[in-house]
């Protein structure tokens, strides 16, 4: 090897040595052992499934041979096939992201953190940090996309309180790996939001489109009188479209978004709104509504969004209030978290999760009902729109969990500390 080449390699080695740094020791024998066990279980289940499939095929072939000339009726099945369930095929997301408060002992303010936890064990696996250098950075809200990809809003403020000014907001993207670790957060194209205060975020499952509800962050916004904008970002090109909230003017009904979601194709942005009239007379009014923006990438006025579902008749003209709403990826159904009495859950102190067809038919399907609730804090859906997380409270204390066949399965950590969860 020439001296030049040896010299080059030596310099390169030094630079690589510095770059690789000193990683913390995180891969342990116990973690490896758990991985080995998981791998063996998956392999054996796959083996059983293959056997069942082979048995089925063999039975079908045997039937064909035994009765030549006759058509086989229905699929050939073996007696065991119904009992086989492959692990990891239940569709329940393996990990969820939690925003929680870490209480301090009086002298210092409480700390907030965003962590990744395993759905079935509750164990905390990784902490999500914003790549921003400042003491007051909030790593929330978070929106899920498919394949355990997430969009994270990092908001740098002048102080820790909710009324402190926002100095910088930016959207990042990160991935939760198969073992629950978090990859580095990468800035999303078009995700620089300046000094806006981001209230909530939604994304299409493929992550090509992201939408946020944003308020001016330069002064503490009065959320009841400040019109929010919805900003839609094409993450592939960085192009942004702004849907402006109408200012509170007299004789005009305004439709400000409470919660937003996108269909999988990104062609419809649906939002929950309570029409507001700041000074009578207003032309239209009434109860809560789901409104829809077709082709959200074009931008415009939120007031021009079309009416999708008037919720008053859909919820049986009850006194219930929708707190959050999510459109299904195919746009066929809206799932709502509702507080108050509904036909089918008459207790006024109740929390329900119901589904209604986007066609507006008055058909309520109850996903979950809690008759005696005394608080509501959040409701989110996974990217497939079929698994839900709900934060609520009963007289005996807060309750955070995932909805599974009409039951709320509690999720860690201690619910007193949870602010919100997504998966």
């Amino acid at each position: 090897m020439s001296q030049d080449l040896a010299d080059l390699e030596a310099k390169l080695r030094t630079l690589m040595d510095i770059a690789a740094g000193e990683p913390p020791s995180r891969v342990t024998v116990n973690a490896v052992r758990r991985g080995v066990v998981r791998r063996r279980r998956a392999a054996s289940a796959l083996g059983v499934a293959a056997l069942v499939l082979a048995g089925g095929v063999a039975a079908a072939v045997a039937t064909q041979r035994a009765e030549p000339g006759q058509r086989s009726v229905g699929p050939a099945t073996s007696g065991h096939s119904r009992s086989v369930t492959l692990p990891g095929h239940s569709g329940v997301p393996r990990y969820y992201i939690v925003r929680s408060v870490i209480p301090n002992n009086g002298s210092t303010p409480n700390r907030e953190e965003t962590t990744v936890r395993a759905t079935f064990t509750g164990s905390a696996l990784a902490r999500i940090r914003c790549p921003m250098s400042a003491p007051y950075v909030v790593s929330w809200p978070v929106a899920p996309a498919a394949n355990q990809n997430f969009f994270l809003v990092c908001q740098r403020a002048t102080g820790p309180a909710s009324y402190d000014k926002v100095l910088e907001s930016r959207i990042f993207e990160f991935h939760v790996t198969r073992s629950g670790r978090v990859t580095r957060a990468l800035p999303v194209r078009g995700g620089e939001l300046g000094r806006l205060l981001v209230h909530s975020i939604a994304a299409t499952p493929d992550g090509s489109e992201v939408a946020v509800i944003a308020y001016p962050g330069t002064h503490p916004p009065d959320l009841h009188r400040t019109p929010p904008d919805v900003i839609v970002i094409d993450t592939r090109t960085g192009a942004r479209a702004i849907w402006q909230g109408a200012p509170p003017m007299s004789s005009r009904t305004v439709y400000w978004p409470q919660d937003i979601s996108l269909t999988a194709d990104g062609q419809r942005l649906v939002f929950l709104t309570a029409p507001q009239c700041f000074q009578e007379p207003c032309t239209t009014s009434g109860g809560q509504q789901m409104r829809v923006i077709m082709n959200p990438a074009s931008g415009g006025q939120l007031n021009s969004a079309g009416l999708l579902i008037p919720l008053d008749p859909a919820l049986g003209r009850s006194s219930a209030a929708a707190m959050a709403a999510v459109i299904s990826p195919d746009g066929s159904t809206v799932t709502l978290a509702v507080t108050g009495a509904l036909p089918g859950n008459p207790s006024p102190a109740s929390v329900s999760v119901v589904q209604i067809p986007a066609s507006g038919q008055r058909r309520l399907h109850f996903v979950y009902r809690l008759p005696q609730a005394d608080s509501y804090s959040y409701f989110t859906a996974d990217p497939s729109g079929s698994h839900f997380l709900l934060g609520t409270g009963t007289p005996s204390g807060p309750l955070d969990g995932r909805i599974d066949n009409g039951r709320l399965i509690p999720l860690r950590p201690d619910p007193v500390r949870v602010q919100a969860m997504v998966w």
Partner: protein, 170 residues
């Protein structure tokens, strides 16, 4: 429960950090690097006794890491996205220099193909011989040499890396 093979725990304890460093150079991401090392060790566990008898365990684990990373890189969902530069500015003091080196090396390695990156990391950083690299990558020694030469040529044309190397000389 799986019976732990003899000497495995000691190997993990002793070499896990070194493996993570190699994994970081391959992936450019700490989370993925940890995952890669863990996956490689999980795959090595069932064959540990045979590997210890016939092979160098560390070379074997590195081979699994390189192959696993090649598979992961081919998956569509992991396809790299075009993004703007990271907003991390250099911090004051020595940390700044370290961050600058890390970012330059990461971006230089990302400009290489997976094969070029693997050859460079194994040959230069892990100090494996050309024969060992060929063994790890399951290719001819000549291929290792030509790939290495292509990788070095690419790095030489990277202005940030060249600048860092010149600064090192000064």
């Amino acid at each position: 429960m799986s019976e732990e093979p003899e000497g495995f725990a000691q190997f993990v304890e002793a070499r896990e950090r070194a493996l993570q460093r190699t994994a970081w150079l391959l992936t450019g991401d700490h989370g993925l690097a940890e995952d890669l090392v863990q996956t490689a060790l999980v795959r090595t566990w069932p064959r540990w006794d045979r590997i210890r008898r016939h092979d160098d365990p560390e070379v074997y684990v590195r081979r699994v890491m390189v192959n696993t990373w090649a598979t992961w890189s081919r998956r569509k969902w992991r396809g790299e996205r075009a993004t703007q530069a990271m907003p991390e500015g250099p911090a004051p003091g020595d940390v700044a220099a370290e961050v600058a080196v890390r970012m330059a090396i990461r971006s230089a390695l990302e400009s290489l193909t997976s094969r070029q990156r693997a050859v460079l990391v194994l040959r230069v950083f892990d100090d494996l011989s050309e024969v060992q690299v060929a063994h790890v990558l399951d290719c001819a020694v000549g291929t290792v040499k030509s790939t290495m030469s292509q990788a070095l040529a690419k790095l030489r044309s990277d202005a940030r890396v060249t600048e860092l190397m010149e600064a090192d000389t000064r």
